[in-house]
Amino acid sequence: MTALAPDTEPAVRQQEPRSAKEKWRLRGPLLPALIFTIIITQIPFLVTIAISTLNWNVLQPGDKSFLGLGYYESFAGLDNYVTVFTDARLRTAVVNTITLTVSVVVFSLLLGLALAILLDKKFPGRGLARTLLIAPFLVMPVASALIWKHALYNPDYGLFNGVLNWIWQLFGAEQGPTIDWVSSFPMPAVIAALVWQWTPFMMLILLAGLQSQPGDVLEAARIDRAGSFQTFRFITLPHLRQYIELSALLGSIYVVQTFDAIFTITQGGPGAATTNLPYEIYLTMFRKYEYGEAAAAGVVVVIGTIIVATFALRVISSLFKEEVSR
């Protein structure tokens, strides 16, 4: 930006020391993005940590002003964190979040792997099949949650019971079973809808992994008369490991944040059977108005995410270094 003057420096990554002015000239283009990101993403988290140490319920405001944003009652220390880990609702939410995230990631990873393997081989219409398979990830999440809730799961006219009914009638029965999917199996119902949504994500990353296999190694395996299972087990799978790790970790980070599907399909119910942490935080904030507790639960989610993210960063960084050194 500041560098319209002719430039005599060699273009790429040089090691010799630079003057301070030169350094700032290089940093110039970076600064707007960096400053914007720091302000918008870091400050709210610092504020969340601050609020998590306060007794602050909007329905019973105190007399202490919090940065002019509202009035809290008193300093709570770590009490809100004690509540997060002892309150039955919040504990249920922690357990539900783990169940939901692990199930969705594992099932969509396996399905995604199967689809990626199928798509790795040439067949008529492969390009079109790939395009169709991406669609579930692109459909607006709220829209796909609504479609699952009403058009597929509905006990009276949903597609699932409709197909069952059709098959039953095909075999001469009068009426197929009427299953109320969401009420009878709330958690699996949410998981199935999310697995459908996230499988294309897994498939795309794994397919990229499969297609980045060096052709000469596969050729060598073929010449050495390795069977296709052996080739998969001893060549493809080790190569794919990084990609599996990456998709599982990124998937976990995104699925932990699931809000749309819960909000739409079950509203966290019945009871708190499908309430995950993001939805519980939302309820605590805007239904119970317990700001301190909501903030503490938010900090817990951040810490959980950081643990997963550390592993994710390690995988991304190794893929990234491979790329840079290439």
Binding site: V12, G28, L30, T37, G162, A208
Partner: protein, 297 residues
């Protein structure tokens, strides 16, 4: 496997048998290929069925949409879509378009120079900066909702589409920085050096060397930022009410609907998903790079 073994033994056999064997081998390979194609297509179609069902139901009338067993071959019309516009979906679509397009432009405006300073003329410790951007993408937005809500309320920006613009910009900036960095890193260094030796200025270098290589990447980055902004729900539902509500908020009205509404719901779901489906199909070759934050090409 069997084919390979056959090949080995065939050397000791008379030519006629060999030829017959080879034909048999080709047949097995061909039938395996057919089975593979059938398997792949069956799975694909089952997987795609909910989308197909959504589009098909959106074209049926309400009573055909609510039959059991389903009426697949009921007459089709665009009436449900017309009804959506009567119900006032337009302002929601305009808000979504405003928030997504302006935030995407802002993201590119910030990310392209940043990516330049992280690839073509890298600053010191540029990988650390990259990973700082990435780490912000890992912070769950729900944990920032409360302070953002309080601050936005305090400055009188609740139910304002520009609040969403700012939030979506910060949400997509790390993805765009990573994607653009990986695209700009593909500009051949030798050509950049040659241009410099020839005394080409920055502007010329950008226009005639960097731009042609990076343009497809820029387009893909824009489409991916657009997709994520358009689909965003959590901030939109908590920070907007009437004036700034976006397309996903229009759908919220259907959550606990009663009576005959399925066909209209399907039409609404199809309509609001359409821009993203188009953008996604247009960007599908680069989609994986955006989803994996540039880690996978």
């Amino acid at each position: 496997m069997t084919a390979v073994l056959e090949n080995r033994s065939s050397t000791t056999q008379p030519p006629a048998t060999r030829r017959r064997r080879r034909k048999a081998k080709d047949d097995t390979a061909a039938s395996a290929g057919v089975l593979w194609a059938i398997g792949a297509w069956v799975l694909t179609l089952v997987f795609f069925a909910p989308v197909a069902w959504m589009v098909l139901t959106s074209l049926h009338n309400e009573s055909d949409a609510a039959t059991n067993p389903p009426s697949v071959f009921a007459p089709v019309s665009m009436d449900n879509y017309a009804a959506l516009f009567d119900r006032g979906v337009t302002p929601y679509l305009i808000n979504s378009a405003t928030a997504s397009i302006i935030s995407t432009l802002l993201v590119l405006l910030l990310a392209v120079p940043a990516a330049y300073a992280l690839s073509i003329k890298p600053v010191e410790k540029w990988t650390d900066v990259m990973f700082f951007f990435l780490s912000t993408k890992f912070l769950p937005p729900i944990a920032a909702l409360l302070p953002i809500y309080l601050i936005v309320k305090d400055i009188g920006m609740l139910d304002n589409v520009f609040t969403l613009v700012v939030l979506y910009t910060s949400m997509n900036l790390p993805i765009a920085v990573w994607m653009m960095q990986s695209f700009l890193a593909e500009v051949p260094k030798e050509i950049l050096e040659a241009a410099e030796v020839d005394g080409a200025g920055l502007l010329r270098t950008l226009v005639s060397i960097v731009a042609p290589v990076a343009a497809p990447g820029l387009a893909a980055t824009a489409l991916i930022c657009f997709i994520f902004s358009w689909n965003e729900f959590m901030f939109a539902v908590n920070l907007t009410a009437v004036r700034a509500a976006t397309a996903p908020i229009f759908l919220v009205g259907f959550i606990s609907s009663q009576g005959l509404f399925l066909a209209k719901l399907c039409a609404a779901a199809t309509l609001v998903s359409l821009p993203v489906l188009i953008a996604g199909f247009a960007a599908q070759d680069k989609l994986v790079r955006g989803l994996s934050l540039g880690a996978v090409k």
